[in-house]
Symmetry: C2
């Protein structure tokens, strides 16, 4: 059975518009590439009760949950506490992580650094070739930091653990037609091809060489190609800018 | 009482990583400027039942909900249908909108264009000086299109209708200190100033002239300034890069 995923982005800085969210795109592309259906993204504030409630709900209804943010030594980093609360466990200091921190910081190590080694009881530490630092995984929840440079490196953990072999197939065609003109054709295709997802995205970029991008996604390459073929039959070749 | 808000972003293209979400930042900044607390952002797929359930939940628990995406004439534009389902009303053709479309498209007008004038029964059409096209508002739900250029123009509707006069006050200081070093000071400030929000954001940008950005937000300027004063007293002036 194909896997589903959800993302929980934790951060007042996103909700107050101080920072542009940057991790969701990286995660969405990675999961799509792995054939995992990202069904839901939630952005919530740095509040233990809210995060814990969201985590419980998302963890129950999806195969995999990835969190972004709230990991660190300061007072507003409450994700680990919330994960523990969500699953009704204590927080314990992970020995293996402590050792890594001692090696790295040496004599500069303080209690504040050691806070990074606090994990929910029962969590495991996932590591890959590419990642010196362990990733906390509690049941089906992967806890990733919010800093985009670190987050992007962490997706190798998902790649190592979740590759399913059931990838999505995706095609796209860029056309010089507007959506009202395309709508009857797309209505017909959507009704006739329930096993694929057809997307229609108009551009407002005046420099673009097309008006609308049409996409066809699905689990079956044959189904995607069949729909794509019918789509291309419905559009005059002179109005097709390019096919991907 | 201060207002709360939620955003519902509708779009398979975000969840599959085809498109980078761009509207949340614009919305978050606008709401923060208006003194409205954005508490939650949800991204969900183009599915009527899912959108309707999310809308009901978000509308019940927040003063204002803004949706992004799924507005248009094609088969994957299901937001209006979902808003109607969420509030248990029919979809009707809005006369005022039809007139606008007739004026704009003239003889080119088709049934597909007229789909744009379909609104949930009981919705109102909000218009501002800056916006030729009306915005559908159903109870506390503002329905915005996903195209970033159009979305950005729509925020004038929020500004016109929701200005509360209870704005947030926000200060920031950029320092050359890492988070483990700052943590004890921030712990103390967070405990002593429950009426403000203190944020700590480390940068990994090697070109940055600071290590950590600290922010203090709150509804009371006095409370923000008191916390900011104490924060600055706790940091050696030579390690302060700039104050905003």
């Amino acid at each position: 059975m194909a896997k589903t995923a959800a993302a929980l982005v934790i951060g007042n800085e996103i909700l107050t518009g101080k920072v542009a969210e940057a991790n969701v795109l990286v995660l969405a592309r990675e999961l799509f590439g792995l054939g995992i259906e990202l069904r839901r993204i939630v952005v919530c504030p740095d509040e233990v009760d809210t995060i814990a409630a969201d985590l419980r709900a998302l963890s129950d209804s999806h195969d995999v949950v990835v969190t972004s943010g709230g990991v660190g030594p300061t007072h507003d980093d409450v994700t680990i506490k919330a994960v523990a609360q969500a699953f009704g466990v204590r927080i314990v200091r992970a020995e293996a992580y402590t050792t890594l921190l001692r090696d790295y910081y040496g004599e500069r190590l303080t209690d504040m650094h050691l806070r990074m080694a606090d994990v929910p009881e029962g969590a495991r530490l996932a590591m890959t070739q590419d990642n010196r630092w362990p990733t906390v995984v509690m049941r089906n929840v992967y806890v990733f930091p919010g800093v985009p440079q670190i987050f992007a490196g962490k997706v190798s953990v998902l790649r190592a653990e979740l590759a399913s072999g059931k990838r999505f197939h995706s095609r796209a065609v860029y056309v010089r037609l507007d959506e009202p003109t395309l709508a009857p054709l797309l209505d017909r295709l959507a009704a006739g091809h329930p096993d694929v997802n057809i997307g229609s995205y108009l551009t407002w970029d005046k420099a673009a060489d097309y008006d609308t991008k049409l996409t066809v996604d699905g689990r079956s390459a044959d189904a995607v190609e069949a729909c794509m073929g019918e789509l291309l039959c419905g559009i005059a070749p002179t109005l097709v800018v390019r096919i991907e």
